[in-house]
């Protein structure tokens, strides 16, 4: 451990204090991304199924939701929720204010709504791509809609959606950097703090860029393994 202490003492920027600051930011980023992806996926599944409905009164509103959230910058969505939530009449007296005055929750809400919109479209595309014969076969076996979805459509749709979803996960990781604009100290926020303390943009931002790069590669690796297992039937022989 001596060499580590020596290394940390030998420079001004990567001291124990700043590394701990980065570590806290790292935890915030991972939590923020993981929780918003999880809730987003849970929301997106029913939305995607409803989005494939033949009834326009069901599918159109969901299309409008996904179109608006995919067509506007996440930064605007975040500002709208972060600054707007204060002005909802009566919110400051309600129990929600206790939650919403922490910037983490407005950011989480914005991220969830954003990723749910993208994931809905990804899942919809995968559901629509189910071969018609499979659905006819399920019907012929006497399965109802729910059973067809559960046993036939969704298992193969999830597999088909996997490559596109891995892109969405990486996209979400990168978008989470804008959480630092609403006073959340995530990885980027930590880098900004350290930059302004030492006026050293290169060490601060290059280091944090490398951390993001490692995270991106880890996500890619996990999805590659998943694809290898779940899409084995599509692999080249």
């Amino acid at each position: 451990m001596d060499w580590l202490v020596q290394l940390l003492d030998s420079n001004q920027i990567f001291t124990t204090a700043t590394l701990l600051h980065y570590w806290d930011g790292f935890r915030v980023t991972v939590q923020l991304v993981f929780i918003s992806l999880l809730i987003g996926l849970v929301l997106a599944l029913p939305l995607a199924i409803l989005r494939t409905s033949k009834n326009p009164w069901v599918s159109r509103p969901i299309w409008v939701y996904t179109y608006v959230f995919r067509g506007t910058p996440l930064l605007i969505q975040l500002y709208l929720i972060y600054y707007g939530v204060t002005f909802i009449p009566g919110i400051q007296d309600s129990i929600f204010w206790f939650i919403m005055k922490d910037p983490l929750y407005p950011a989480l809400l914005a991220f969830v709504l954003n990723t749910a919109a993208y994931t809905t479209e990804i899942l919809r595309g995968a559901i629509v791509a189910t071969p018609l014969g499979e659905i006819e076969a399920a019907r012929a076996y006497g399965m109802n809609f729910a059973k067809t979805m559960r046993r036939i459509v969704l298992p193969s749709a999830f597999r088909r959606a996997l490559p596109a979803y891995s892109n969405e996960v990486i996209f979400m990781l990168h978008s989470s950097a804008i959480a630092s604009t609403v006073t959340i100290v995530d990885l980027t926020g930590a880098a900004k703090d350290i930059y302004s303390q030492h006026y050293a943009p290169f060490p601060a931002f290059i280091f944090v860029g490398l951390v993001y790069l490692c995270l991106t590669f880890s996500i890619l690796y996990v999805f590659k393994q998943l694809e290898k297992n779940l899409l084995a039937h599509l692999a080249e022989r």
Binding site: Y67, V68, G71, T72, P73, L74, L75, I76, Q77, Y79, L80, Y83, G84, F87, L173, H174, S175, S176, A177, I178, S180, T181, T188, A191, K192, Y195, P201, F202, F205, I206, V208, G209, Y212, L213, T216, F217
Partner: protein, 233 residues
């Protein structure tokens, strides 16, 4: 009607600035993308290596981090350079990296990486026989590229290009964070001073949405033009 408290004209100018940033960075991205794609397909290993590092690193790091790095870093780099030149050659000069240049360069640099991937895939999708046929007709390399490769490549590249453009457009909102007064920043300032966030953020979001819709219609038309030779089943 909508009461913008006198901020209307300013936000309109901000929208113009957003479009300027978007188009200029698209231009940078297209040039870098074509260069990157050519480098990735080139027979020289060092070129391929540089292009691969470029696309991998850029696509692995958040745009905001890159933007902050380039905005703060480029100025310090430039100052160091001018100090060095002053000491060595006694020649005094100062280059100011303003927010506009930094923003356009960063966004162009980031999306150049995405464009390289799009163009590379599109070049590979052109049938090799087409190129051979061109050479058999006695066309030189430039002519083969202009008359055969490019028009067919564009058909394959267009869906990716339109996607990249739409993401780029939304990324321009980040330039507000390095101090450029685009419409996102103006909306933020206006809503802070009037305490009416919805009045400003909703119209600005609507403008982004409008540009998206117009671009989609435009790309549909261009796609039609480049798909003239394709028979649809």
């Amino acid at each position: 009607m909508l009461d913008l408290h006198g901020y209307g004209p300013a936000i309109f100018m901000g929208a113009v600035l957003t479009i300027e940033v978007a188009f200029l960075s698209l231009l940078v991205a297209l040039v870098l993308g074509l260069l990157g794609a050519v480098a990735k397909l080139s027979p020289y290993a060092p070129l391929r290596f540089i292009a691969t590092v470029y696309t991998t690193v850029i696509r692995g790091v958040p745009d905001l981090v890159l933007m902050l790095l380039i905005f703060y870093g480029l100025q310090i780099g430039m100052n160091t350079l001018s100090d060095w030149i002053y000491e060595r050659f006694d020649y005094d000069f100062f280059i100011n990296i303003d927010e506009f240049v930094a923003g356009v360069l960063t966004i162009g640099f980031i999306f150049g990486a995405y464009m390289s991937e799009t163009f590379r895939g599109a070049f590979l999708a052109v049938d090799k026989g087409q190129i051979e046929a061109g050479i058999a007709y006695g066309m030189n390399k430039g002519k083969v590229f202009r008359r055969i490769m490019f028009p067919q490549m564009m058909r394959h590249a267009l869906p990716g290009l339109s996607n990249n453009w739409l993401v780029l457009l939304k990324t321009t909102a980040l330039v507000s964070l390095i101090g450029l007064t685009d419409m996102t920043r103006l909306a933020k300032e206006a809503s802070a001073s009037t305490h009416e966030p919805f009045v400003f953020f909703v119209p600005v979001a609507a403008i982004y949405l409008l540009i998206t819709i117009v671009s989609e219609v435009g790309f549909k038309a261009v796609e039609k033009k480049y798909s003239v030779g394709v028979v649809r089943g």
